[in-house]
Subunit: 328 residues, 2 copies
């Protein structure tokens, strides 16, 4: 799977020239570039190959897939504001969202803790309880891990193993020109609280894997524009968002945040991170299934590259691809 990305399916993609292999460039900027370089470094791994490198989960063997995510105090949570149980919950929920993003069923989890050494042991236990309880609600058992302490901020790593019980995992690399884009809920302003309390869309992901089978799916962790760009890069295509549709996909939190900071609510919807909603590309003949599941339309996949916005008057402009990235 860590080999070159899957070629586009021939039946619907024969007119799309595959992008050339990512070049090894001297100057590296940003997380996307780092991940590209990693794909090259890990391209010789003799692994299963139906899930390309860089998707939300990696293949483990048989029907198993797995994912690992690290959260850091001061970046992904704020120990001065959030309580440890909420923080533990988020550590589990972020990885559960990766399972949702592939349409897989989470089964078991490991938790590796690096606790700041001023924490009480009870705080560490609260992290574990928060993670355990969140996992259990989705049938995912926290069964072990690693414990450490140090004088720096707390770091929590969750690893989840899941099974593709409802059909092959849904990838981000198989979107097709003409697919309609949907999100599973309104976007933006998660920093007002949803970043800690969001519901991983595990059931919805499984329902899609079982029935409607989007062409491509991922979860929105870093902002819909940058995550859509990841789908487009992996699928060698572009996308256009419709401003009129987007208006109905702006979360109330984005409107509230806009009142506070003077930015447009739509900016928050497009660029804020940590929505943890599902972003799906639906073939035209399965659009109804997405609508029936309550998904909100936001645009469509295009043949040409780039992420664009069609405004209410039909004018099209390029959208800047930015969002949460490490190594900026």
């Amino acid at each position: 799977m860590a080999a070159a990305q899957s070629p586009p399916p021939a039946d619907r993609r024969d007119d799309v020239a595959p992008a050339p292999c990512p070049p090894v460039i001297a100057e590296i900027r940003g997380e996307r570039e780092f991940v590209r370089r990693l794909a090259i470094e890990l391209s010789h791994a003799p692994a299963p190959n139906s899930v390309p490198f860089g998707d939300d989960m990696a293949e483990l063997g048989g029907d198993w897939l797995w994912t690992t995510d690290t959260l850091m105090d001061g970046v992904d949570f704020d120990a001065r504001v959030h309580n440890w149980r909420q923080i533990g919950r988020k550590a589990m929920a972020v990885s559960l969202s990766d399972c949702a993003a592939m349409g897989t069923t989470p089964h078991r989890a490991l938790l590796s803790l690096v606790l700041n050494d001023t924490l009480a042991m009870a705080d560490g236990l609260d992290i574990v309880r928060g993670a355990r309880d969140c996992g259990e609600r989705f049938g995912c058992s926290l069964i072990g891990g690693d414990t450490n302490s140090w004088p720096h901020p707390t770091v929590i790593t969750t690893t989840i193993a899941a099974i593709a019980e409802d059909g092959p995992p849904l990838l981000r690399s198989t979107a097709c020109a003409g697919d309609r884009l949907f999100v599973s809920g309104p976007l933006g302003g998660s920093i007002l609280g949803r970043q800690l309390t969001f519901e991983p869309r595990v059931s919805l992901g499984r329902a899609l894997a079982r029935g409607a089978r989007p062409s491509a799916m991922m979860d929105i962790s870093d902002g819909v524009v940058i995550d859509l760009a990841r789908i487009c890069e992996a699928s060698h295509c572009g996308a256009i968002l419709n401003a009129a549709e987007l208006e109905r996909a702006v979360h109330d939190d984005a409107h509230r945040l806009a009142l506070q900071d003077g930015k447009a609510a739509r900016e928050h919807a497009l660029y804020d991170g940590e929505d943890f909603e599902l972003l799906v590309a639906m073939p035209p003949n399965r659009v109804l299934a997405a609508e029936q599941l309550g998904f909100l339309p936001i645009g469509e996949i295009t043949r040409g590259p780039g992420i664009r916005l069609r405004d209410e008057l039909g004018r099209v402009s390029e959208l800047e691809v930015r969002g949460w990235e490490h190594f900026r």
Copy 2:
């Protein structure tokens, strides 16, 4: 597996009263106590149950087991001294050593990086290369992970999934009174360099799982006395070490370090961490197999609790149980 610890095998243990369940105490001290509390918190997980909570790996499903370990700059390595490729190698080797400790065969790995944000991207790639190359030597493919950055020291988490191909995993909870204790190589002074360059004993662990089948096995990561105490606690027994045998299990590095710091070389052998040798308890009728594999005898498992030392004159004294622990 996270339920109560396995009862001792009835055939050879009927005279050993099992220790009572760990009490929930108000004051918590040290990593051992934290892990004991975690075992209680996670005791309701509906998981496979042949591997008790707290062993070197946890059960995943089928013949799969997995393990996760986090290394931190300033604790497990020193970025001012070690290069990033060596550090990446160690991150993989520590988890491979957990596979060795259960007699399992490592297959796939994930790596989660939290890089200090002054690092060059090339440094991050070197960590990945070091981990990848180390894994590949043992047939373990690094296939994905997570990348992050922050302004604090670098943190690296490795997760490995392995298969018990050579028989059921070898546990730390099944030692029996009368077993002879062996180590796979001399101990102590790893800080002089072996802490970065040690060889995970994967082949040796598999050979034991296939043939000699120790009663119990683990890898020595925090010092032979504290790790032996973990075997004894999990197996409801004690141990006695023989000073005369120990002399032959003191590493040259321990002697060299003793010359530098004035401590006894044996102290280093007993209490230094990061030997990453295997510690095995062999039934009396399989001692020869351990000797043929080059293992060094150091003592035996006893019915009564505690870790003791028999000196050259036959006098027995209690050994203090200490070594590397977080949350001291």
